[in-house]
Symmetry: C2
Subunit: 707 residues, 2 copies
């Protein structure tokens, strides 16, 4: 009952916010003009992108259906049998619905974000707190839409494929939904990520460095592409990522729940539907959290504090909701403890990320210091920070997996289930921790999208020459937005890691290997693990290379325009923004195909040649190396970015006590670091979160083939 209520609440809250944001003023004419440029560019890109994705998705769904129908075999659970054909069409349908929902979330989120930017810029003309509210609420539209849609899809499919009358069957039939969601998310992130960073790097290199004009200067032909990129990359991408995490977590947990449900003498259906209920509580907590954010200050010093307050309200309410759910449904304190561990993990990840990427602590200061001796030392020092920052999150993950497993095991024993092996019982505790972590997803996503909206609002203010005061206000918001973006990236990696573990466990459960054993002391298992350890690198190499190639194409185009038409530089003629946008879009879309298909094809090859046990090892190894590499890239990139900002804020001093200025060699070195970090933190890093889930969901869908 609570589930449909939460879905309706979530979607209508999103609609209310849309109405609330849309009634705000769109600003003056100049602002509207640049906003319309951005909107056009974004729409053009998104249309082409999703058309490509749609073609790919339809092909994959057909292949999926044919393969599962012919090689999948029947499925029998709880005395009900579904034929291979029955599984096949349901999987294909679920895949398409997942893909569709993910696409809708991405498209609507982007459309809204573009409209929120200009309204944020307009609001910044009056006051910083108004601007903050517009940006946050604009972000929240996406947040609640994404989480609501994800839950809606799963709920509908669950009801369609059996519902509470056949609760043990439905979860197996909706795995296609998770795969569809992650498939689209991966391409959305890759396409958007390549586009945004290629445009950013291209615009900066040719503008700031070659032509010596400021950032977001209208004379730069790549500047609109850059602003479009901020939207298609950051807004559409993260939404797709979290859509996918929430969907995959629900499905993985439900499959684990089925095994427990089947051995429960009471046949408590809560084992299966717990993930949906916890998510619903999380949505309600997030709504209250968001509404608790009040704009109060005039100078912008309390923006971060206001956002943090909302986060803490959400976290505390989530904890209470979790306590109610677990007590009411299972009457076990252990499950509550497991969920609380998940919420604590969220907090730990947020603070560790902050330590490694914010200017107040050693890592960023060290990079800024190293910039004094040039770009080489800035890069070396940043790489050291990036590598080092993997240690604490991995230890936190290890601890939270271990303790939540323990809680799960205690809970299952307290309830009195007789399990063949401890594994499923314990890992159910980890699944609850993951649910706990993802309860705040909608709020986190609102905070995250706040970043690119304020960033874009700044660009619009600059581009439309709205005056120094406005730009200062948006700059302040932008700097808070950078922090929230970094924090939510940590959250995304942490929840992706736990989700992937749940999916991996669901796979091991579903594959029903002899004795439930994945034995490393078998050569094919070791070989699978070895190959898995490389896949994240190959994927990242492809993504980074795509950024290089695309930015080179943009640079060439801008140079050509400057050369062919000298009046552009004088500012009397507008450059041809459209052509640059086109080139960026075409190249990004071409180059997203290969890395996007890699995680779809690789597990199939490994599974078919080496078998299910090796697949599990491949998944495990790919997940671990993918998560670690994502930490390296996300936080390494964030640290470089903030080292640059640290210098720009005037906090770095020379040995004689004078301030290191903007435009100094040290500043230039820090800009190089920032540029190197761009494709790390905004292209390859975030895509890796989805990569690990695509690998798991496709393996889960095709399990029967590998046996």
């Amino acid at each position: 009952m609570i589930v449909p209520v939460a879905i309706v609440l979530s979607l209508s809250f999103s609609a209310y916010l849309t109405w609330d944001v849309m009634r705000k003023t769109r600003g003056d004419q100049k602002m509207q003009e640049v906003a319309s440029f951005i909107q056009e560019g974004a729409n053009a890109f998104i249309e082409r992108q999703y058309r490509t994705i749609a073609v790919l998705a339809v092909i994959v769904s057909l292949i999926l259906g044919v393969v599962v129908a012919n090689f999948g075999g029947d499925l029998t659970t709880d005395n009900t049998t579904v034929s291979a054909l029955g599984i096949a069409w349901r999987t294909s349908v679920a895949f398409l619905i997942g893909a569709g929902c993910s696409a809708i979330a991405g498209i609507v989120g982007l459309t809204i974000a573009v409209k929120s930017n200009v309204r944020t810029a307009a609001a910044a003309k009056h006051s910083i707190s108004d601007a903050m509210m517009v940006a946050l609420r604009g972000g929240a539209i996406t947040g609640f839409l994404v989480v609501g849609l994800s839950l809606l899809g799963i709920y509908l499919l669950f009801v369609m494929f059996g519902g509470l009358s056949k609760p043990a069957l439905a979860p197996y039939l909706i795995v296609g939904y998770g795969f569809g969601g992650s498939f689209v998310a991966l391409f959305a992130l890759l396409g958007g990520g390549i586009y945004t960073k290629a445009a950013d790097v291209g615009a900066d290199l040719v503008g700031k460095i070659e032509a010596k004009i400021p950032e977001d200067d209208p004379r730069n032909a790549a500047v609109i592409a850059d602003l479009v990129g901020d939207n298609v990359g950051d807004c559409a991408g993260r939404g797709a990522d979290l859509f996918e995490s929430t969907a995959a977590e629900n499905i993985g947990s439900m499959i684990l729940g089925v095994s427990l449900f089947l051995v429960d003498p009471d046949r408590n259906v809560a084992w299966i539907i717990l993930p949906l209920i916890v998510r619903s509580c999380g949505i309600i907590a997030s709504i209250v959290g968001l509404l608790s954010v009040r704009a109060s200050d005039q100078d912008g010093s309390k923006v971060q504090q206001s956002l943090d307050r909302g986060f803490w309200v959400t976290a505390v309410l989530s904890l209470i909701g979790l306590g109610l759910c677990t007590t009411y449904l299972f009457n076990s304190i252990w499950f509550f403890a497991a969920g609380a561990i998940g919420i604590a993990t969220t907090v730990a990840f947020v603070y560790i990320t902050q330590y490694y990427t914010a200017g107040e602590w050693r890592p960023v200061k060290e990079i800024a210091e190293a910039s004094k001796t040039g770009s080489a030392t800035a890069i070396i020092s940043g790489i050291a920070v990036a590598f080092e920052n993997t240690a604490a999150p991995v230890v936190v993950l290890a601890a939270s997996i271990g303790t939540s497993y323990f809680c799960g095991l205690q809970g299952v024993q307290e309830i009195g289930l007789q399990l063949e092996s401890d594994f499923i019982g314990g890992i159910f505790g980890t699944a609850i921790a993951t649910m706990g972590m993802l309860m705040s997803a909608a709020y986190i996503l609102a905070m995250d999208t706040f970043g690119p909206i304020t960033d874009n609002a700044g660009g619009i203010a600059e581009f439309s020459e709205s005056g120094k005061e406005v730009r200062e206000r948006t700059d302040k918001l932008d700097s808070v937005g950078n922090t929230t973006k970094a924090l939510t990236k940590g959250y995304a990696v942490g929840s992706a890691a736990l989700t992937a573990l749940i999916l991996l466990s669901a796979f091991i459960d579903k594959a029903d290997l002899p004795g439930g054993v994945v034995n490393l002391a078998k050569v094919e298992v070791f070989v699978g693990a070895l190959l898995g350890g490389m896949i994240a690198y190959l994927f990242s190499a492809m993504a980074i290379r795509a950024v290089s190639v695309t930015s080179a194409a943009i640079i060439e185009e801008v140079r050509r325009q400057f050369k062919d038409n000298p009046e552009i530089m004088e500012g009397t003629v507008r450059p041809d923004y459209g052509r640059t946008v086109d080139i960026a879009a075409g190249s990004a879309l071409r180059h997203m195909i290969a890395p996007g298909l890699l995680p779809v094809v690789a597990p199939i090859i490994v599974g078919l040649i080496l078998g299910a046990e090796a697949s599990a090892a491949f998944l495990m190894s790919a997940t671990i190396s993918g998560v670690v590499l994502a930490l390296v890239m996300n936080n390494g990139g964030g640290a470089w970015d903030n080292a640059k900002k640290y210098i720009e804020s005037g906090a770095l001093k020379n040995s004689d006590g004078s301030t290191v200025e903007r435009g100094s060699d040290a500043h230039a070195a820090s800009v190089v670091g920032d540029t190197v970090g761009d494709p790390w933190k905004d292209t390859a890093g975030p895509s890796l979160n989805v990569l690990v889930k695509v690998l798991s969901t496709i393996t889960l869908v095709l399990t029967p083939l590998f046996l």
Copy 2:
């Protein structure tokens, strides 16, 4: 019988080469003067370094003895029992002998290399082929010494601890030897690697960039530290690495052999001593290979060809030797096939490394192209290449492990052994492949040490103002040396990966887990794997940071000297080289301790808390991620280095067809790439090879504690 013969041959060949090189002229007075500077600096460093290592080694050996004696338990194999105390003292003694041999190999190798440099420079006054022969033979002294000593130590311990009368017992008692060797190798590589790159980066940044004086200019106070660094880093380090690979491979294979010996009705002792015999054949093949290198050309165009010929002679003779051994001892073609796979893997690794790091192919050209748009794009492009280059070697490794496993299994079945599980039989095939790969170790090491010797000879020629002609000759040799260094690095990673797998298998075999199973579907095993996936990053972060900190100290000192004494810049007064050398040495030694102890302490913590199964997963995951990261760093660094050289050779063209000059912006960008790659390819990367073996050997030594 062949084993002692090969040991004597190897060591006396090394002595003969020493005599041969030492009788060459030491050059003119200026050359001798700079050589004596280098020698002093190197001796001072090596003395301090090995004193520190000796203290650490004695402490570890004592702790090891006490721990094994008290918690180790007795060992019973083949109806013979050894008490815990008996194991303890033997392990401690073996550890100290391994540590001692590794240290001797490092110290003697370094001393000889320093003496060979100046003689190479002197020979370059007359002809390039003379210089080549001196450099190669100087390198070969180390090569044959290292491999001979490694075999000698194992042979002596094997005889001491039972020999052929108790062949099933001795291998378990000498695992300490491998740990001792890898312990010292790790510190030697770390200390030397930090020193060499800190000096290199420091000298370049303060000399070439700040003071605008050429490389190796006598006015730079860091230049002697730089030249010393080339010796202590490259010569001493790689020797220790391969000492360790050969020793660890022998021990791991012997332990696996014991299990097969015990089930063999014929009690064929060849199962156990095969690794020693194959190594002996490899030594003889390498001697012939080295003697077949003839200096013939005058213009230096055939240097690479001459070295390649020697390699191929060694490879073919190794193959023949392997065929003779396996046929005579086992009469099975399958074991020969497994060894041949190992030799083929060597060739594949060498060529893949060449593709990714030499100027003739896409990757390096792409980085050079990217340098045109600045250092940021040069770095981005280099990182993409570094990540991409993991794919092919990993696939080759997977294929060679899979096929050699198959061969091993067929061989064991053909011979008719009844095995409880296939694993040990198959992995014995992979062990034979590893033996095959390491047969050419002495020759490879000679080719490798050729690199730093010629590099240093060039430095001596420049520093002693010996004229352009001499410098040109040494430059040609140096460029070949860079290629051979890169190739041998690929070889070192590949053999380290296989060796670590053998050690891991030996651990699984020795731990005798229930059913021989390491079950991934257990939470502690997954957590172990998760932690293992992070350790290589943390280690690399520490190593890279140590380079940053040390080079910063060097830069400060050189700046201080320039400032305090303006006559240095005029060239009328010599700077104080000694102080810079001292500072570099002190800082490098302080900063090697923490990363060096990490791989000793981490597996103990994991093993004690999570148990033996999790240890196996930790090892596996750490090995895979360590090998992949080593590939990233070694070849990424090599690619940047050669992109710079590609530009310096004038091969890169502007869009208008003109040549990109030295000193251009593109060249400067490529120098930044090279500098970033320095700590990758010469500090962290090579140390990772040893890291994976230290993790395995300590786990193997302490196995009883984790059960």
